[in-house]
């Protein structure tokens, strides 16, 4: 009975862990730069779910302030490969401070929307509002039109009613931006990684030696005993013919031990 209960608890914990992992994966619209309005984020996530249900294609969005010199297309491709299902994912990367963007598509997604179609989507729906810093409008127009085209390509329908119905007025700057006049209030915390190409990870600095590495202590006890025995063999009294207690080398060993201390051979 106890075993069964234990098994049930283990299974429950496993489901909870798996559930939370999946919940994290669903959040594919990530606004690291903090430039999107709450309503846009909510609607974008809702639309992404609808598209995924209907077409099995995941639309992912990432916003960053800078990439620290990384090439935007290559970076988008790398982000795409980090998603749970890269072949059926289309990832839009918006780099706010560099005024650049890229769209990366996996093989499955590329079959439904070829490169020319993707380029057209970007140039007609996204580019102008993005460069005008109306990020909400740029994203909503792009996602909305992409959803339509994916639905058409798969013969499904996606009901977008109510989504992006009230797009915010053009936002000329990130939400955390201060007014252009007056003293600037220092932002105490910001996502340092949103301006770097390579995200910083906690680094481990070896502070202690691995256990299997022997510390240098000069002569070991074994070496001292061995040297003492060798010395006693060469210089010790010859006891041939007479019985001894056999403790002759002890004096030599003690001598070597003392000498090693005096001369610093042993720390």
């Amino acid at each position: 009975m106890k075993n069964r209960m234990f098994l049930c608890v283990c299974l429950l914990m496993a489901f909870v862990i798996l559930g939370s992992a999946n919940a994290q994966e669903v959040l594919v619209v990530r606004d690291s730069a903090g430039v999107l309005g709450a309503a846009t984020l909510k609607d974008a996530r809702a639309l992404v779910s609808l598209v995924e249900e209907s077409t099995d294609i995941t639309l992912a969005v990432e916003t960053r302030h800078f990439l620290g010199g990384a090439e935007v297309s290559a970076y988008a491709q790398r982000l795409l490969e980090e998603t749970s299902d890269p072949s059926n994912t289309m990832l839009l990367l918006m780099v706010i401070g560099e005024e650049d963007y890229a769209l990366a598509a996996g093989s499955g997604a590329a079959k439904l929307l070829n490169p020319a179609a993707r380029e057209t989507l970007l140039s007609t729906q996204f580019r102008s509002p993005f460069l005008a810093r109306d990020y909400d409008r740029a994203l909503s127009a792009f996602l909305s039109r992409t959803a339509d085209q994916l639905a058409a390509a798969t013969g499904k329908s996606i009901d977008q009613e109510g989504l992006f119905g009230q797009v915010k007025a053009p936002t000329p700057a990130p939400t955390s931006a201060p007014q252009s006049t007056g003293p600037y209030k220092r932002v105490s915390i910001f996502d340092f990684n949103s301006i770097l190409g390579e995200q910083l990870k906690p680094t481990s600095i070896p502070q202690t030696q691995p256990e299997n590495q022997r510390e240098d202590k000069g002569l070991s006890l074994g070496s001292i005993v061995l040297i003492g025995i060798v010395l006693s063999m060469f210089f010790g009294k010859k006891n041939s013919g007479r019985g001894g207690c056999g403790c002759g080398p002890l004096g030599w060993i003690a001598g070597v031990f003392g000498a090693s201390k005096i001369f610093g051979w042993r720390r």
């Binding site: 302030h65 000329p172 990130p174 201060p178 252009s180 910001f190 301006i195 022997r214 010395l231």
Partner: protein, 187 residues
């Protein structure tokens, strides 16, 4: 006579063996220690990469508002490239120090540029985010454990007998991430 020469030979042999054992032990120990110091150099390289990325971001904003041939941009760009190259650590440390001053001067110059003043987003970058990132990256480089490890290694290898043997056998002191001291100017 024969007994004395045997004893002398044994003593010489023993001394040679002891010295060889100590040298081998010392070499093994100090070369392992040196490898550990070199491992922390990887952390410093990561921090320098972060620093370069922050500088790249500053240059990205600067390119939007200042002429391409701006002297400060050129200086910052040059020192940023030095951090990436295969130069010695003292050279990189000197470039890193210059970057702190010049990048800050570049940000200050940008903050006064009318086009930045009228641009809310770039004002935020120039007045808040990038200075903070520059400061953070500088302190990350400063706090990288490499220098402390290298200094400790150099001190220990210089103080111990086995360290002297290891140096004799080719274990070199670690190079520190510090700029070379300026030569003394004679009046």
């Amino acid at each position: 006579m024969h007994k004395k020469s045997t004893a002398l030979l044994a003593f010489v042999l023993m001394t040679a063996l002891v010295l060889a054992a100590l040298s081998w032990g010392g070499y093994k120990h100090w070369s392992t220690q040196r490898k550990q110091v070199d491992q922390t150099l990887g952390t410093l390289s990561d921090m320098l990469t972060t620093r370069r990325e922050v500088i790249t971001n500053i240059l990205t904003v600067a390119a939007r508002h200042l002429p391409k041939d701006d002297a400060l941009i050129a200086v910052v760009e040059k020192d940023k490239n030095l951090l990436a190259g295969t130069q010695s650590l003292p050279l990189k440390a000197a470039a890193n120090e210059r970057l702190s001053q010049n990048a800050q001067a570049l940000l200050a110059a940008l903050a006064k540029t009318p086009s930045v003043v009228s641009d809310v987003r770039d004002s935020m970058y120039v007045n808040q985010m990038l200075p903070q990132a520059l400061e953070q990256s500088a302190s990350m480089v400063q706090e990288a454990a490499y220098n402390a490890q290298a200094e400790s290694f150099n001190r220990q290898i210089g103080e111990s007998f086995s360290g002297s043997l290891a140096r004799f056998l080719g274990v070199r002191p670690a190079q520190q991430f510090l700029p070379d001291p300026l030569p003394e100017v004679k009046p």
